[in-house]
Symmetry: D3
Subunit: 227 residues, 6 copies
């Protein structure tokens, strides 16, 4: 959070099979499985719909209006990584566009999550290179002030350590801290298994009131039906 | 507005042919036909584009971060209903997703209008189950506090009584109070009839200045042309 | 900025080939080529994705909730024009919809940039008539108070003179002042030429760090790598 | 909500002693006493701190940027009234200032609650004439379009009928519907009585955990203490 | 608007008596006198209440997060000037605090209007050095990128030329373009003169309905009174 | 960040003299001394002006609309502590008011920093009990769901560990991580010492351009003066 001007070259990445398995679940499922935590703020929206990525977080911290460190982070990318970019103050400038996306993609990155603006929407969509951002803005940035790479960052309200697993889809972005990856994966799997069954029942017309046994607690809480 | 912990089981629904007829008009047309009133705030956006629904409002009032009453409301749904969900304070949490949509759809509901967040965007789009909401958020909710079903609610700035007609499309959401349904329907029909003719004239190059007879009032108001 | 109740009938429009040439570049490219200036605020978003227009600005200044002057401006349109509409106070009402779009299109206009709301999203998309706006809202407006046509306006944070070139795409909207049109066009061309080469290098795995010669300035600025 | 162009001259006002008694409680106390309902959105802020008013609501509905009806409502004011002003769309213009405040005060009004902007902050503070508003703005308005007086309105998210009791202080604004006035008054009194005792205990160092008997439900909910 | 890296040393300042006379009127009065134009957005708020300043605008354009040009502008200040600072993108960082205020004050500046954040609220209040800003933020800025001094800028939605007169009070900020200074002064004086008389009448209980002769136009517009 | 339902009873608090020394500096000074980091978002504003507190952070994490854990945290307070309260989703409800302030004060707490709403503004001001919050709202909360005490939290964009030093004044709130407390203290002292001298020079009319030696770098960057 507080180191500026530093690039950590070696970070521990989680096992790629575990990442793939986590990436098979939706963001909402993982968030629930972790006990309803880990989400980035809902203002983080995908640049185009339909993307769903998972990967180890490579983090970058930048100053407002300055995207210099995105070039620095490119060199640190391993195939499968997802870049998580935070800014030290509120900023909607377009930090990232087609050229950087080309570079990130060439390095094997799976996507970008950035608490700022991006541009070249059409090119990003066509490549495709999935991005979740706070804004779309053509505003360019300078390259004048240092930030850091692979330090812990707060991105859109969530703490992200390098090597945490990022999962992002149309519903938003969730961070699974590295030490909780296995637990989250199992809980998500359990949750999804039970959801299939529930979905079938609900589709058949069974009410959640009955399926979840809510009638008694609702009555106890004082709910009154009036004809 | 002020009853908590109450479910009204019997509400008066407008005639289904009238609802269908109202639903054949766009939201903007109905709003204009009613005298430019009845709209929800423009922050209410469709989860996917292209949906257009109309139905009697079944209302639900909830506390922030608590979606318990959505399960209660499911039981009260009749085929063709549109659920209008209000929250007692500003909240973007994801109150509604694939499972509840499956249940609502199984009960015959046509859509949901909710002054809060929803999730499972992809599933809602594929079903499809049309939703107009304030936010998209994977954030889960609890089931701990009572609200009410089928009481009058203020949803995104509009007063909604159970049994009012809700019409929603890509432009937003409009509420037609039950006592005004026939009048609104006729006025909308008249308006739409006249719009077809106007559209043809404008497409042919006729100016609104001439078609609406605006030149004189503009001159009277003092408009000056400078060459 | 300060003339109300005035319509300037004669404005100087830039050469149409120059406009076409500018319109072949993206908004971000032009903004960068001009020295990172000229953009409208990023809250200005296209009503549908994929549009890319360029044309001389025909400006209109209106009061909140009053779209009377949009009918006045229609008469002043030449084929290829882009209307830039500003409002004297913050307003999200739906100033513009299918009928006005039909009229503007019949007059040859290429698009609308409006610092307010618009409606009839589906019709605009189907026509198609490209619009960049601050909001989508079905809320109707009155026709009661004068504004002006073809005066300088501030639209979404940018100063626009009639006859300036407007370029708009999925990234936003940029204004090229008439006296800078040639310079901007050349600088954009130069920039785009160099981008093709850069893109190829980056796609081949070359790092921006090396391509832009950033390693030395980063080291000089104090960047430290930690293994 | 839906009548435009109408002034209801006769409204039923609650007993003035009851109003005075309600006005002796804070907004938060009344809101809690009613079951945590009735508040206007928290963006409604007092123009100057320290005001605390209560009175029957005289309501007014206006169009964006048009304050004509504030002159109409002045004539309908009885001593002790509080004006509640709603606008049919989001607007921050300065609808109200020193002159109207002078008029309202001369008619005996106790204050204004307006979901829009006001101006002449210094004069309002010096008079003093208490105002709760969404914004402070010097932007003037026109007098061109009708609204209504003493119809039900939605103001900052709350439904207000003419004759409901409005209470406003530094914490915000609460509406007590006329039929609930006595019940709210008694519940608020009971609540406040118990608060005095609680305050004394807490000031003496007693913990809410013990005073409210929370230790057992917290343990039951699974709270764990770690040394 | 589009020159970066330029300092115009010589600007034409309006006559100081005219400035003083304009400064004797409130912002709302001047805005109305000019035909309801010239205001900055209402998000521009005074750092402390009670300040009222007027002076020639000395303008400065800066990049987000970079306050370098505030040191450059200091040298260009004449006694009585008001600095108007714009930023090329949305930014809330604290560009200005006690040290720069000390410098500006030593050069005779009367105040600052800045479309960004400021800090050292307590010191600014104690000096006092009046500031109108978009935000209060302790966030520091860098000194790395050029902007300009005394070029036309768009500040909080208003076009400002160097030498225009800025008037600011608790209601906000208004810009009087240099060519309109005399006309605005006279119109404001006329308006204020008539306001005194109106205030007296309204205080005596005369209604605006009668004083402004509104009863007839309201009736003509269709207003209905219901007993 | 990710533990729910846990109360850590023992946290390491920094030396009280160090805290007092840090608290003698303003928030902006400390933020700059740390390398321009550590600030909470500028939307965090003091409930009343003039407060300036410093203390070890006792952290609390809560669910939206649920203030149960504020009673739990009260028991963990030591004299001099500052409570830092985070919520798992965006919420403006009034979590804290006079009763809890009385309890916190009785336990010796110096203040509260909360990324949500508070109420009882008048009582807080009179006590006085300093609070920095996102909103003022009378909206009450429930006591139904567990959160945690003394876990790391993200509050208004900043990571806070229990035992970090919180400093808050009229400019906002800064967090000094426990391991950096001494370094920050020394850097702040050095910075403040140099500021006194600078202030005197600037007050005497010396320009920052000369005092900071900016003329050469500005010229090198290409700044041009035009007469």
């Amino acid at each position: 959070m507080y180191e500026l001007g530093v690039v950590h070259r070696n970070i521990e990445r989680p096992d790629s099979e575990v990442v793939a398995r986590l990436g098979s679940f939706g963001v909402a499922t993982i968030h629930e499985a972790m006990g309803r935590v880990g989400l980035l703020e809902p203002y983080m929206r995908p640049v185009f719909v339909g993307a769903h990525v998972a990967g180890p977080a490579v983090t970058v911290l930048m100053q407002p209006g300055d995207n210099w460190m995105l070039h620095v982070v490119a060199e640190q990318l391993h195939p499968g990584d997802v870049v998580v970019a935070a800014v030290t103050a509120d900023c909607t400038d377009g930090y990232f566009g087609e050229l950087l996306a080309t570079s990130f993609k060439a390095r094997g990155a799976r996507g970008l999550v950035i608490d700022a603006g991006v541009r070249d929407v059409r090119a990003l969509t066509e490549m495709p290179f999935p991005v979740w951002s706070k804004a779309i803005s053509a505003k360019g940035t300078v390259k004048a002030t240092l930030g850091s790479v692979n330090v812990p960052v707060v991105c859109a309200g969530a703490l992200v350590h390098p090597g945490d697993v990022v999962v992002a889809d149309d519903d938003g972005v969730v961070i699974v801290p590295a030490p909780l990856v296995h637990k989250a994966m199992e809980a998500a799997a359990a949750r999804e298994a039970s959801e299939g069954e529930k979905r079938a029942k609900l589709a058949a017309g069974v009410l959640g009131l009955d399926m979840y046994g809510m009638r008694e607690p609702l009555e106890k809480a004082g709910l009154k039906y009036i004809d």
